[in-house]
């Protein structure tokens, strides 16, 4: 089967003052038709630049890219008819109402809301009560749903969503991902980026990006399986002191905060966890717990970054 989105040895750099910034450094991957593909990485990893190359807004310095089998540089007009794009910043007209925004983007793509109503129905019924409201007066979650409707209105074959859930509350984020799942069932290929590691597990496959490079590309479970060490989570009454004490111990490989715990890996393979507990107890830690835990995408990301 032909890939829906394909990148081949993409390089892209920017001139920022006198320094040259490598935004993308030899990026290659493929996204299959109907896949929900995630680009996971912190700010500045190069996700937005990659999106802009796929959506024909930028030209790579080196390498090729295809969307729907079309070349992003020479066949950009055709691609612009087929893709849906939702940029990172909220990019609708704040002074236009929900309805006007939708009509504008529908006519821009020579279609109407009615024509592809089935596709946007799920999303549209959530924002319909506010259709006379100006987009600027919507809540963050609602804005993103409106933006998604606008990106979908012409029934694109590929949907590019650049950090659609950044700055959106937890409930709306969850709803948003459910919407994406439904869209995927309708055969739309979705490429989505996010800085939130917990959202990675919701994708079919993810690429972990850092400083313009892909660190790893696999299914979420494939990535977590590759975690090479045993992961421990620790907590005590004084978390700050616990971090300092663990980092000072030479047996500890990595230690970083993770939610209400610290995640730790050790240098040796089989650590005497009792001796660590003893050491910490001697240093005055109370309510100390250290237990094995399953690595998440974030843990894998931290491990890959430290390599």
């Amino acid at each position: 089967m032909e890939a829906s989105v394909r990148a081949q040895n993409i390089f892209k750099s920017f001139q920022s003052g006198k320094t040259k910034v490598e935004a993308l450094n030899d990026i290659s991957f493929e996204v299959e038709k109907g896949e929900l593909f995630g680009l996971i990485g912190p700010d500045g990893a190069g996700k937005t630049t990659l999106f802009r190359i796929f959506t024909t807004l930028m030209i790579a310095n080196k390498g090729n890219a295809w969307v729907d089998g079309l070349k992003v540089v020479s066949q950009y007009r055709e691609i612009r008819k087929r893709v849906g794009y939702m940029p990172g910043r909220f990019s609708l007209y704040q002074d236009l109402t929900v309805e006007e925004n939708l009509s504008f983007f529908a006519t821009l793509f020579d279609t109407t809301l009615e024509e592809n109503y089935d596709l946007v129905k799920d999303i549209y019924i959530q924002i319909e009560p506010f259709k006379k409201r100006r987009a600027g007066a919507l809540s963050g979650g609602m804005k993103q749903k409106l933006a998604l409707s606008c990106a979908l209105i012409h029934k694109p074959s590929v949907l590019f969503l650049d950090e659609p859930t950044t700055g959106v509350d937890a409930v709306s984020r969850q709803e948003f991902w459910e919407l994406l799942r439904n869209l995927q069932l309708q055969g739309i290929t979705i490429v989505v980026s996010t800085p939130y590691m917990d959202e990675a597990s919701l994708c079919d496959r993810v690429a972990l990006m850092q400083a313009g490079k892909i660190l790893d590309l696999d299914t979420p479970s494939g990535i977590t399986r590759k975690f090479s060490k045993t992961l421990w989570s620790a907590s005590s009454n004084d978390m700050y002191q616990l971090m300092n004490d663990l980092k000072a111990d030479e047996r500890v490989n990595t230690c970083y905060p993770f939610g209400q715990y610290h995640h730790i890996t050790f240098k040796g393979l089989n650590q005497e966890i009792q001796s660590i507990e003893k050491m910490l107890a001697e240093k005055g830690h109370v309510d100390l717990t250290i237990q094995k835990t399953e690595p998440t995408i974030e843990d894998c990301f931290m491990e890959l970054m430290n390599q």
Partner: protein, 368 residues
């Protein structure tokens, strides 16, 4: 087509919902034309003058009467000696003093010569000049009326006639200038800002990743401001004719066509500015410094171009407003037709074609 029309409709939504901008767009032209027409005028009216009449005879009295009867002067002080002159000038009570020597009538009748001294406060040289001219004209006028009854052998008569603007009204000069200024400002600044705003907000990204042809984006951005400018032209012309009493002596349709042409040039400049500006502030600064100021300075409506050094005179040729100003003055005030302004019109058309070509070529179909 539907796509294009909705795009224009969207632009109108932006325009009409932004009350402040709308107020500037419509309020500014009215305010400027009225301010320039009434308040900022370089005509001198009702200037306070002093009379020092050492002769007090029939002739001096009739000259004084004539001075007082004119709308330019009001006699504020009647002085009795030279010593009183300096203090009234210093206190700023008067701008001009008219001094008649003793035996004025006698010497006029016997020697055919009698001097009148005009003393002006030249701290503002232009006003001083104007006042001296007015006063000289009134005295000359009196001399001519005397000639009918009496014999003056060696009087050189200068006959003045102010063409096209016999009352020397300042608004005849300002209306074309303000029109150039407003059309340039609305056209260039507003278009460039509205395009750069889309880039700044990120909406341009979404528009670009759609099937719409770039030239349509450009046109859709230009048309609302073109219509708006035409509304402004209409209101400026109505104010000029009915309130400032500046007539449209030439063909109205030619005048409107020239305004249309100039507005298009301004819009093309706006497009060009938008393609080189990174933010709305930059677009505004470039429009103000790069267009508005040169329009005011080099169109000839504030400062005569003939008086400028050669390099600046050459530079002024690049300012579209200069040509537009010539055209409007010719068509509106002098009442001439295309036969006198075809050259300027062609220059404007040339500028429009060049600017539009460059700005369409420079319009970015991508983000960089």
């Amino acid at each position: 087509m539907k796509q294009f029309l909705y795009f224009i409709r969207k632009e109108f939504y932006h325009l009409l919902r932004d009350r402040r901008t709308l107020f500037i767009l419509f309020g500014m032209p009215m305010a400027q034309i009225l301010i320039f027409g009434f308040a900022l005028t370089n005509e001198v009216k009702n200037s306070r003058i002093a009379i020092l009449d050492n002769s007090k005879d029939e002739v001096t009295l009739s000259i004084i009467h004539r001075l007082e009867a004119s709308r330019y002067f009001t006699i504020a002080e009647n002085l009795n000696s030279y010593a009183e002159l300096e203090p009234v000038f210093q206190e700023g009570k008067i701008r001009l003093a008219v001094v008649f020597p003793e035996q004025f009538q006698n010497s006029l009748l016997h020697t055919n010569e009698a001097p009148i001294q005009l003393i002006a406060d030249a701290t503002d040289p232009n006003v001083a000049n104007t006042l001296i001219n007015y006063a000289s004209a009134i005295i000359m006028d009196y001399q001519n009326s005397m000639k009918e009854t009496k014999e003056f052998p060696y009087v050189i008569k200068t006959e003045l006639r102010m063409l096209y603007n016999p009352q020397l009204k300042g608004s005849y000069n300002f209306v074309p200038g303000v029109m150039a200024m407003i059309l340039m400002l609305v056209g260039a600044m507003m278009t460039s800002i509205s395009i750069v705003r889309e880039t700044e907000l990120g909406t341009m990204e979404v528009i670009l990743v759609s099937p719409i042809i770039p030239i349509r984006i450009i046109l859709a951005k230009m048309i609302p401001y073109l219509l708006l400018s035409m509304v402004n032209i209409a209101s400026i012309l109505i104010i000029s004719v009915y309130i400032l009493e500046v007539p449209i002596n030439g063909s109205l349709s030619l005048l409107l066509f020239e305004c249309f042409l100039f507005t298009l040039t301004a819009l093309a400049l706006g497009l060009l500015i938008s393609s080189i500006s990174s933010s709305q502030q930059v677009a505004m600064l470039i429009s103000l410094m790069g267009l508005f100021l040169p329009t005011v300075m080099f169109s000839g409506f504030m400062f005569p171009i003939e008086n400028m050094p050669m390099p600046l005179q050459l530079l002024s040729n690049l300012i579209p407003a200069k040509w537009f100003y010539y055209i409007v003055k010719d068509v509106m005030i002098k009442g001439t037709g295309l036969e006198t302004v075809w050259k300027e019109t062609l220059i404007l058309i040339g500028m429009l074609v060049v600017l539009l070509t460059i700005s369409i070529k420079k319009f970015k179909v991508r983000l960089e």
